[in-house]
């Protein structure tokens, strides 16, 4: 466990024990991980870093409403099929002229017919690519909650047995099962069947210590004192009742912004000017502005 935490830290991801355990279980039980959490908490980043840590290629599938299997799994290369049919037309004609009757000609055609629905004419999409990667891969299915229910059901075979059925060819099975991450923002509730097949990891907003470590890893140039101060401010901000609480990515962005401004310490004026990095809604900014002084002194 410690080695996984250290390894993830090595590629720039500070993980809690639960995250490390989830990663460990995913590789050992060979089950996909469903990662949930508010936006900007590092769900996608986890998959990227896991790929770097395991030294596997990352294959990413971004979900959206209307995504279907021809875009996610495979498609036939219609153009190529057509072209080949045209080119081979004469050839086929020649092969068939000496056939004594229709039955023989049909027989010969049967022998070649399936050629056009074979692997050379298959256009692999992300899911198929992940299955065919010889040494395994990290497959990231991003924002699964944005896809349709039908697509979710379609994923089930892929996620439990790591195989897909293509009617014309048969079942394609993974040589090495990929490590699969699914991320969800809870736009809609996912089906139980999908949840059952996955390990579930909920990434909460981090506490003071963990967040400081994250900022240190992501923004190396920042001074320790400013770091502590700014993380404390963000933590205090999260106790307020805001429409969108600032998450880790906002903290990191803010830290970068402060470095650009050559700030050494937080003061009310500075916070007021840079507040729009942290808060994304006009109403939130208006609610926080009068309280900045209080929040700053509360932390110190």
């Amino acid at each position: 466990m410690e080695s996984i935490i250290a390894g993830l830290a090595g590629v720039g991801y500070i993980a809690s024990r639960r995250i490390a355990t989830a990663l460990f279980m995913a590789t050992h039980l060979q089950k996909p991980v469903l990662v949930e959490g508010v936006a900007g908490v590092g769900k996608t980043e986890l998959a990227l870093c896991a790929a770097a840590l395991l030294g596997l290629p990352l294959i990413r599938l971004q979900c959206y409403e209307g995504l279907d299997e021809s875009k996610a799994l495979y498609e036939w290369k219609y153009g190529k099929q057509l072209l080949y049919t045209q080119i081979l037309k004469d050839h086929m004609g020649a092969a068939l002229t000496d056939a004594p009757d229709m039955a023989t000609a049909m027989e010969r055609l049967h022998g070649t017919g399936d050629l056009f629905f074979s692997e050379p004419f298959l256009e692999p999409r992300p899911l198929l690519n992940a299955l065919r990667e010889p040494d395994g891969a990290v497959l990231l299915i991003d924002e699964i909650d944005k896809s349709d229910e039908a697509f979710e059901a379609f994923l089930l075979e892929m996620l439990s047995a790591f195989q897909v059925s293509i009617p014309e060819i048969g079942v394609i099975k993974a040589t090495t099962p990929p490590v699969v991450f699914l991320t969800s923002n809870n736009v809609r509730d996912l089906g139980d069947a999908l949840k059952r097949r996955c390990l579930h990891l909920h990434i909460p907003l981090p506490d003071q210590g963990l967040e400081e470590k994250i900022v240190a890893a992501r923004v190396p140039g920042i001074e320790a004192r400013l770091r502590t101060e700014l993380v404390r401010f963000v933590q205090a901000l999260r106790t307020l009742d805001l429409r969108k609480l600032p998450s880790i990515s906002e903290t990191v962005d803010w830290a970068r912004a402060l470095i650009l401004l050559h700030a050494a310490a937080l003061d009310v004026e500075l916070v007021r000017e840079t507040l729009n990095v942290l808060l994304k809604f006009e109403a939130d900014v208006a609610a926080v502005e009068p309280k900045i002084g209080e929040l700053l002194s509360h932390g110190a």
Binding site: R17, T21, Y78, D189, H200, H202
Partner: protein, 445 residues
């Protein structure tokens, strides 16, 4: 250890964490991977395999802590008793263990007795005392008491000392047994009791909810609204089987030299419902209004296009309040804006039609929550007819039972003529069922 894990899974199920047999197998595999030595590791590993949502993670953590908490041991902190020689032959097991201070054996005996009398099946907290007593009896309490009696009667100083010690240990055992049952009840009974209360609340008349149940009711309402919304808020396509979409098929065939490889069938898009709600917050329905507003608020959070109005002597739009304020504030503010005044349906309908009129079309469903009591003012049935003409459907939910309709100043029957449905609705369960009917029947056609 397998047995322990099984009972833990049972405790989880009692805590509303759904564990299917397949997940149970996963849990065993996970536990085999991690082993039982490192408790935090085991907890994390089981958590990722079993808990499937943020709420379940919280419940899992609580359950894990209670389940694996070590009970305080008998006679902790005392010098180990030197009683080996004193135990007379023919002593019952329980007395022997108590005298020897054998905590492991005692704990085991307690577990075994608990399993025999079925402490794990506890459903109500009121069963605790009974089950504690039964468990102690099963462990051999009667024999123990008989022995103490006998020793006291024998009268020797040595016997008396042993009897004294046994009595002392017995008291500790009582405490421990009670704590054990308490823990079991927390594990297995708390959730079932909560579920029972929720079921009762859902059947409770909205006008008769006790103030202390408000919080629970609120949570219940929110869950219902969320459930309904996830079920119906999606945009769906329905394929028209067998109808060729010629335009799209030709367009797609362009890439293949005009040969129609891909055949596209016509499909129709099911539009997301548009809902306009008119909610009565006048004096006559004040107690029910609170919940109707609560439902409105929750619905507003999950349904995209909802226009909400509250009315008593006039109707005002409350969309801004529902959008910007927290739930308690929103309800108070709505009540402050228009609440507690005598109802004037005619004027309210006129206000509603003025504000909402341009947006009322064949895709809108109008829901009216109110008792139809207009204080003998002009009910303006013509406006009701106009609303009914324009909207896809009009649904009237009345907190009064149907026998009260049209009595006194109620104009309910007259209004009902212009409604697609008019129904009584005075419990949460009814409210949910009706809204679900509405969403299914009147919207997605």
């Amino acid at each position: 250890m397998q047995h322990t894990l099984e009972s833990f899974l049972r405790a989880l199920r009692a805590h509303d964490v759904r564990v299917s047999p397949a997940e149970a197998i996963d849990a065993h595999r996970a536990a085999a991977e991690t082993g039982y030595a490192d408790r935090d590791l085991l907890r994390d590993a089981l958590c990722v395999t079993l808990a499937k949502s943020a709420e379940e993670v919280d419940r899992f953590d609580a359950c894990f802590d209670t389940f694996f908490a070590r009970p305080p041991s008998v006679g902790a902190g005392r010098p180990p008793p030197q009683t080996q020689g004193e135990t007379p032959p023919g002593t019952p097991d329980l007395a022997g263990q108590l005298l020897a201070g054998d905590e492991a054996a005692l704990a085991q005996a307690m577990e075994a007795s608990a399993a025999r009398v079925g402490v794990g099946d506890i459903r109500l907290t009121s069963q605790r005392n009974l089950l504690t007593r039964r468990m102690l009896d099963d462990m051999g309490l009667r024999e123990l008491e008989a022995m103490i009696q006998a020793l006291r009667a024998a009268g020797g100083p040595r016997d008396a000392a042993v009897a004294e010690r046994l009595a002392e240990r017995r008291a500790v055992l009582f405490v421990q047994a009670a704590a054990f049952v308490e823990r079991q009840s927390k594990l297995y009974a708390s959730e079932s009791a909560r579920r029972m209360r929720d079921a009762l609340l859902a059947q409770q008349k909205l006008t008769a909810v006790e103030p202390e149940d408000f919080r629970a009711m609120e949570a219940l309402v929110r869950r219902m609204a969320k459930r309904l919304a996830t079920k119906y808020a999606r945009k769906r396509h329905r394929a028209h089987k067998g109808k060729l979409d010629v335009r799209k098929t030709i367009r797609r065939s362009m890439g293949h030299g005009g040969i129609p490889f891909e055949v596209v069938w016509k499909s129709e898009t099911l539009h997301k419902p548009k809902i306009a709600v008119l909610c009565d917050v006048s004096r006559s329905v004040a107690s029910a209004a609170q919940f109707l507003l609560l439902f409105l608020y929750s619905l507003n959070e999950v349904v995209e296009r909802l226009d909400a109005y509250a009315f008593s002597d006039r109707a005002v739009s409350v969309n801004d309040l529902l959008d910007d304020e927290k739930v308690d504030d929103a309800i108070t503010l709505v009540m402050a804006r228009v609440g507690f005044r005598p109802t004037d349906y005619g004027r309210s309908l006129a206000n509603f039609l003025d504000a909402q009129g341009p947006k009322l079309d064949r895709r809108t469903t109008v829901i009216i929550l109110g008792d139809g009591r207009s204080n003998f003012a002009n009910p303006r049935l013509d406006l009701m007819r106009a609303i009914n003409d324009r909207a896809r459907s009009v649904i009237w939910l009345n907190p009064e039972p149907e026998t009260y309709w049209n009595q006194g100043d109620s104009k309910m029957d007259a209004y009902a003529r212009f409604c697609t449905v008019a129904k009584t609705c005075n419990t949460l369960a009814q409210l949910e069922r009706i809204i679900e009917d509405v969403l299914r029947t009147y919207m997605s056609q």
